[in-house]
């Protein structure tokens, strides 16, 4: 945290500026709305992955129930719209429902950490999936709920794919900034402390449970935000969105990109969405390809693509400049 103005970081800021320029100008040089829509998907799944990364990466709590939370916010939006409420109240309701269910999740699952936490979140996620699947009077089961139309903030109708892309981009940038500030705040440091040394943090007088609980709420907020974008993007919600596969997929985004890093989930979301939507058009067994890539990541850079590439980059540059090795980002976690 101390070397914010180091050469390494200046390079990072330049890279970020370039990335931002690329993202903003994307609709101008990408041909066809198909790829713009893929871009929107990457952005809101990246927000989802950022949300999960708060728990997986910074709090050391692996959740396998996040698709359930994602789905409940999406269902809340769709349900409100179906019952004639406006977009504003539907979005507000979705945020409230998303964060409230995360709070409930947290109260139940924070009784343990490690494997216990995984199993409880898995069970809760499956309960939500089951409700979506079988509570026919509310969710219409397998048939799902269609969402008609998208909102038009400040007169820009989001039905236009380019407008929707920019709306997703704004939400994405705000989410990234929030996570950036969160991680660098004293609270973020305390959260990472509870990840690495929960007992010592406890002895130092930190309320470990409360810190984790707040982290859960923040994660739930980002999940709800991405779910709202998702439901407006697909104009449809059905139980498959809440399935265990979906939970595993977002976890895969976080782990493959690099948990506990800001860019990791974004890179992971890009990887998964591109393979799932674009590459699957060319390769029928895209699941297999995704699996193979994941295995390759685990073998070559077990810490994830972003920290792994950074390590390789440092290896290369260190040889040339003979600079002292930069301290690697802390990725060790208590199991």
């Amino acid at each position: 945290m101390s070397e914010i103005f180091s050469a390494d970081n200046r390079l990072r800021f330049i890279a970020l500026a370039i990335a931002l320029a690329v993202l903003v100008s994307l609709p101008f040089w990408v041909s066809g709305i198909y790829y713009i829509n893929v871009g929107s998907q990457i952005l809101f799944f990246a927000v989802f992955a950022l949300g999960l990364n708060i728990l997986v990466g910074y709090a050391g709590l692996v959740s396998l129930g996040h698709a359930g939370l994602f789905g409940i916010s999406a269902y809340a939006t769709a349900y409100m719209l179906q019952h004639g409420f406006g977009h504003t109240s539907a979005i507000m309701m979705a945020l409230v429902v998303g964060v409230a269910s995360m709070a409930l999740f947290a109260v139940l699952s924070l009784r343990s950490s490690g494997i216990g936490f995984i199993m409880i979140t898995l069970a809760l996620g499956q309960i939500l999936w089951g409700l979506a699947y079988r509570w026919i009077s509310v969710t219409d089961g397998d048939n799902g709920i269609p969402v008609r139309g998208r909102p038009a903030p400040f007169g820009y109708s989001l039905t236009d794919p380019v407008h929707f892309y920019y709306a997703s981009l704004i939400v994405f940038i705000v989410a990234v900034a929030m996570v950036f500030i969160f991680v660098r705040s004293p609270f973020g440091a305390a959260l990472m402390g509870t990840r690495d040394q929960p007992r010592r943090m406890n002895a130092l007088g930190y309320h470990v449970w409360m810190i984790r609980f707040y982290a859960c709420l923040f994660s739930g907020l980002l999940t709800a935000v991405s779910a709202i974008l998702f439901v407006y993007y697909t104009n449809f919600i059905s139980p498959q969105t809440l399935s265990l596969t979906a939970s595993a997929e977002v976890l895969l985004m976080v782990i493959s990109g690099g948990p506990g890093t800001l860019l990791g989930p974004i890179v992971g979301a890009t990887l998964v969405v591109v393979i799932k939507t674009v590459v699957s058009g060319f390769i029928e067994r895209w699941n297999f390809l995704l699996g193979a890539i994941f295995v390759a990541i685990v073998i070559l850079m077990p810490e994830g693509i972003v920290p792994g590439s950074a390590r390789l980059w440092r290896l290369v540059t260190r040889k040339r400049t003979a600079a002292p090795p930069a301290p690697a980002a802390t990725t060790e976690r208590t199991p």
Binding site: I33, Y34, G141, N235, S238, Q240, E284
Partner: protein, 413 residues
């Protein structure tokens, strides 16, 4: 902006090609026209893959028969696997429409996939020919770009119920079907006609699409003299096994998916005697069907079922519609209109035409599973000719009723 020019050039070339075609110029000049792009949304993974793979085979069989050419235009074929999920269907339909810029889409398979994209299809003005249920898309919420050349969910169940009541003399029936739109609508249609004919549906049982074990559901079947099952994909096999091993002997009636011909080669004795009603039957003795069955057996080594035949016929309708429209596909509304005006005689399912909503009017076959020379066959017992989605009901009265659903018509106690 060079894209636009190329696109305009394409259109000009298409129009020129079409104009040439009408003047009967030699073939090489016509072949210069831009290719006709045909998309397919199917399912190749999950419990519905059984039918989804046959869908693609049906399309490929027709394309091969026509040497990949519709009315002088080369056909470019794009196939996409939706994975059987609505979100996947949305992604893949966008791929077909926005990236591949297809002129028409075949599929998707399941009603819940269709429900997820029907508005999108109408917005993007792409003709879509599907065998998915979701009745209202050709009824109370019509989509002007949609055609269903197979059958609505209930279209085969109306004649099945008529047959069950009048010929099988069944009085009390329990229905079992998957808990999604297709199942609800099938069983609703069955109940409506069966009860009009004097029968009674005593209970409706709804297992979810992915059910590991049907035993608890089979255990609820009682107090009846017949069972109607509406399972899809490979689920009928599992259901019938559980049904037989529970020792139940009531006659079973079913729809196009429950007694699908594609399932014959993996059926067991538990299917013997089961009745089904289908808009396609393997043993239909017309030229088109003989050609189709022989080609499927030769190329894929399988007997075609409802899904393969449905897509073969759908592709035939696209071909015929394109011809009626003079080979032009840039005006999608005109193309859809042309497709809806198609009347075919030589198809694997016999005569076929469309009503004003884009839904098929055609023959429906009542068949019974029997064993011939060690092989299971569906023997056709009766053909209901020219059945529309409204059966014998008045169209206005039919549309004034709510759509068939989980709770409509209600079970009368």
């Amino acid at each position: 902006m060079s894209r636009k020019v190329t696109r305009r050039k394409f259109m000009a070339a298409t129009a020129a090609g079409a104009a040439l075609a009408t003047f009967k110029f030699p073939a090489p000049a016509i072949a210069q026209a831009a290719p006709f792009k045909l998309g397919l949304l199917t399912v190749k993974t999950g419990p519905l893959a059984q039918g989804g793979i046959q869908m693609e085979q049906g399309v490929l069989t027709y394309l091969k028969e026509k040497n990949n050419t519709f009315g002088g235009r080369k056909v470019e074929f794009f196939s996409a696997d939706t994975g059987g999920s609505p979100a996947g269907t949305k992604t893949k339909v966008q791929e077909l429409v926005e990236r591949d810029k297809v002129d028409a889409i075949l599929g998707p398979l399941a009603a819940f996939e269709l429900l997820a994209i029907t508005d999108y299809i109408a917005q993007n003005k792409t003709p879509m020919l599907s065998l998915a249920g979701a009745e209202d898309i050709t009824q109370r919420r019509p989509n002007p770009y949609f055609l269903r050349p197979s059958a609505t969910s209930a279209q085969a169940m109306h004649p099945m119920a008529d047959f069950a009541a009048k010929e099988l003399k069944l009085k009390r029936i329990v229905t079992v079907s998957e808990d999604f739109a297709f199942g609800h609508e099938q069983m609703g249609g069955f109940q409506e006609t069966f009860e009009n004919a004097g029968g009674k549906v005593v209970a409706k049982i709804w297992p979810p699409l992915v059910t590991p074990d049907y035993t608890p559901f089979v255990a609820q079947i009682a107090d009846c003299d017949g069972v109607c099952q509406g399972f899809a994909g490979s689920n009928p096999l599992r259901f019938m096994k559980t049904y037989a091993s529970a020792g139940l002997k009531y006659p079973v009636v079913s729809g196009e998916t429950g007694g699908d011909d594609a399932l014959l080669r993996i059926m067991g004795d538990e299917f013997l005697g089961m009745y089904s009603c289908c808009p396609y039957t393997l043993d239909l003795a017309n030229d088109s069907n003989k050609r189709f069955v022989a080609a499927m057996q030769k190329d894929f080594g399988v007997d075609p079922g409802f899904y393969a035949a449905g897509l073969y016929v759908a592709t035939q309708v696209v071909d015929e519609g394109l011809k009626l429209n003079g080979g032009k596909s840039d005006d999608r509304a005109a193309l859809t209109k042309a497709m809806r005006s198609v009347k075919l005689k030589d198809t694997p399912r016999g005569d076929l035409s469309f009503d004003q909503y884009g839904n098929v009017i055609g023959d429906f076959f009542i068949r019974q599973v029997a064993k011939e020379g060690g092989k299971y066959v569906n023997k056709t017992l009766k053909t209901y000719k020219n059945v529309s989605q409204f059966w014998t009901y008045d169209e206005k009265a039919f549309l004034a009723r709510p759509v068939y659903s989980r709770n409509y018509p209600p079970v009368k106690s």
